[in-house]
């Protein structure tokens, strides 16, 4: 925890040093840094659970895209109210996660392969159901012309701000998810199962833990989080882009690792992921307000990733 906090602290110090004419001191900058990291953070919450079991979920970004498309179709095309579209989208995400999880649990595919398959499949699904175009408020009439509808109220609600405009709703959603996930991991027996499975699956099995079920549920949880992220993404873009979330799974994995959760499984917790999300969010923001060119950003991000993970390293006795 302390070490993850150090990485975040270093990044914030960087921000204080390169404050871009005082832009870093504005409260809005911090709100925006957290907003832009929130979708990654929500994905990372689910990813944390899977990584604790010693697995990985490469499908998270594609499931985000697929659920963003589904949610937009329900909300914009079919005008479903949120109490229908939200649960339906979450269920779709959870089912996608459940499929990857089943592949990991029953045919015992490597998580990397199972979720890679789900990754391409879900992306294909997203493009198929959307017809390859963004699901936006421009409704096709079928003859090349378009009809325009209002952005659904619920989209605006998710993209709104609270606390006098100083906190984005998506950040609130992220914090809720992280809190819920954190409690499950630390206090629920299922969370404990995940640690045991990641630490020593055979010992967990021989202790009578429901290894298969718990592992499957980790992927379901990851799919669920991806769906939450998909809803947030769609609401913020005001459309469902079938390409949305491409590569986000890697950012989510990076966040989990920067937080200090071990990729080998068995260790880590949600608090670390929270810190990791903030680290990545602030890093991106600082590079952005200083208008660092893309090439420099990529290199700097690489360097800081390694530096952050090195500060995390448990001291070897």
């Amino acid at each position: 925890m302390l070490r993850a906090a150090i990485a975040l602290l270093i990044v914030i110090l960087l921000g204080l040093a390169f404050h871009a004419d005082g832009a870093f001191y504005k409260i809005g900058t911090h709100r925006d840094a957290l907003r832009q990291a929130s979708v990654y953070g929500i994905l990372a919450c689910g990813m944390t659970m899977v990584i604790i079991t010693g697995g990985i979920d490469l499908a998270a970004g594609s499931i985000l895209g697929f659920t963003a498309v589904c949610f937009s179709m329900m909300s914009i095309w079919w005008s479903w109210p949120p109490w229908m579209s939200v649960p339906a989208s979450l269920a779709i995400g959870a089912i996608c996660g459940g499929i990857s999880g089943s592949l990991v649990v029953w045919p015992r595919l490597q998580p990397f392969i199972a979720t890679l398959a789900m990754m391409v499949f879900a992306r294909g699904l997203a493009k198929t159901v959307s017809g390859g175009v963004k699901v936006s408020t421009a409704l096709p009439n079928g003859d090349g012309t378009f009809r325009y509808v209002q952005v659904p109220e619920f989209f605006r609600f998710i993209d709104s701000r609270i606390l006098g405009g100083n906190l984005s709703m998506v950040t609130v959603i992220f914090l809720l998810i992280a809190g819920l996930g954190g409690v499950l991991l630390a206090r629920h027996i299922w969370g404990r199962d995940l640690y045991a499975i990641g630490g020593n699956e055979e010992a967990a099995r021989l202790s009578g833990l429901p290894v298969k079920r718990s592992k499957l549920l980790a992927y379901v949880a990851c799919g669920f989080c991806a769906a939450v992220a998909g809803i947030c993404q769609a609401a913020q873009e005001q459309q469902g882009d079938p390409e949305a979330g491409g590569g986000y799974e890697l950012s989510a994995i990076a966040i989990v690792v920067i937080g200090g959760t071990n990729l080998m499984g068995g260790r880590g917790h949600m608090g670390l992921t929270l810190l990791g999300t903030m680290t990545i969010g602030y890093l991106e923001k600082i590079l952005s307000i200083n208008a660092v060119p893309e090439a420099g950003r990529l290199m700097l991000t690489g360097v800081i990733l390694v530096a952050a993970v090195l500060t995390q390293r448990r001291r070897r006795f």
């Binding site: 832009a23 900058t29 992306r123």
Partner: protein, 308 residues
Amino acid sequence: MHRIFLPVLILILAGCSGSSKPEGAKTFTIGMSQCNLGEPWRVQMNADIDAAAKKHSNLKMVFKDAQNDTLKQRAHIEELVSASVDAIIVSPKESQPLTEPIAKAYQAKIPVIVLDRAVQGDQFTCFIGADNKKIGKAAGEWLRKKLGPKATVVELKGLMTSIPGQDRNQGFRSGIEGSGLNVAFEADMKWLEPDARKEMESALARLSKIDAVYAHNDPGAHGAWLAAKAANREREMLFIGIDALPHEGIAYVKQGILNATFQYPTGGAEAIDTVLKVLSGQQVPKTIVLGSRVYTADNVEQGGEALP
């Protein structure tokens, strides 16, 4: 990788394209090799081609999507040659590596229309493309007319490692040269809307006054507008983008989000026209440069206005 499942989409598109043909008329099969259907603009290109082809009952289209893979596109072109299609339309992913397969098709006496991205040499029937530099320049000149000198502009660039990104940047800069317009913030948004929104948030944090946002594509301009709207500053500035796809840029102009969008034409309809001309033995020019249109709130209902 995530494009593996696109063939499903292609099948659907291809399935739509069959239309009844009158007895006796000779039908022509036309192969279309698209480099990447992951981009909405290219989806539009295929749609334009398909729509144009449907107007002629003797044309049968075969669509192929190389999923952003040069070698796959090469294989597609070779397949079309061995299937002895009557004409090939190809929108190449890369110029150099696809020059030879295209030349081979041309030498096999199949008319080849190259769309959007040119290949080297002259071993093709006709190149149809638009000029990104010209469009960028038009955007710059348009802003120059709208804004006084010393106005502050934010430029949200596509990928600066791509030729369209570079051209849209250079054209724009030449368009505003000497006007006193000041590009106070510029950043790569990688053609992506969420990234454009992030970068715009930073621009808003840094600049207390912004007069215009120029984005290299319409989704980028839309992302910037969302950021400005969230900061309650969207009325302070103009938003302009490029591409003018019907469901993106043009829709945004109609909704009052963008002040202008500059069309980057797909050339789909022109490609079918050219194919028909070639098949009926007419002479066609080696290069056709597509004109562009600008769409603003005033002219969008009239179908925009052609750029000089």
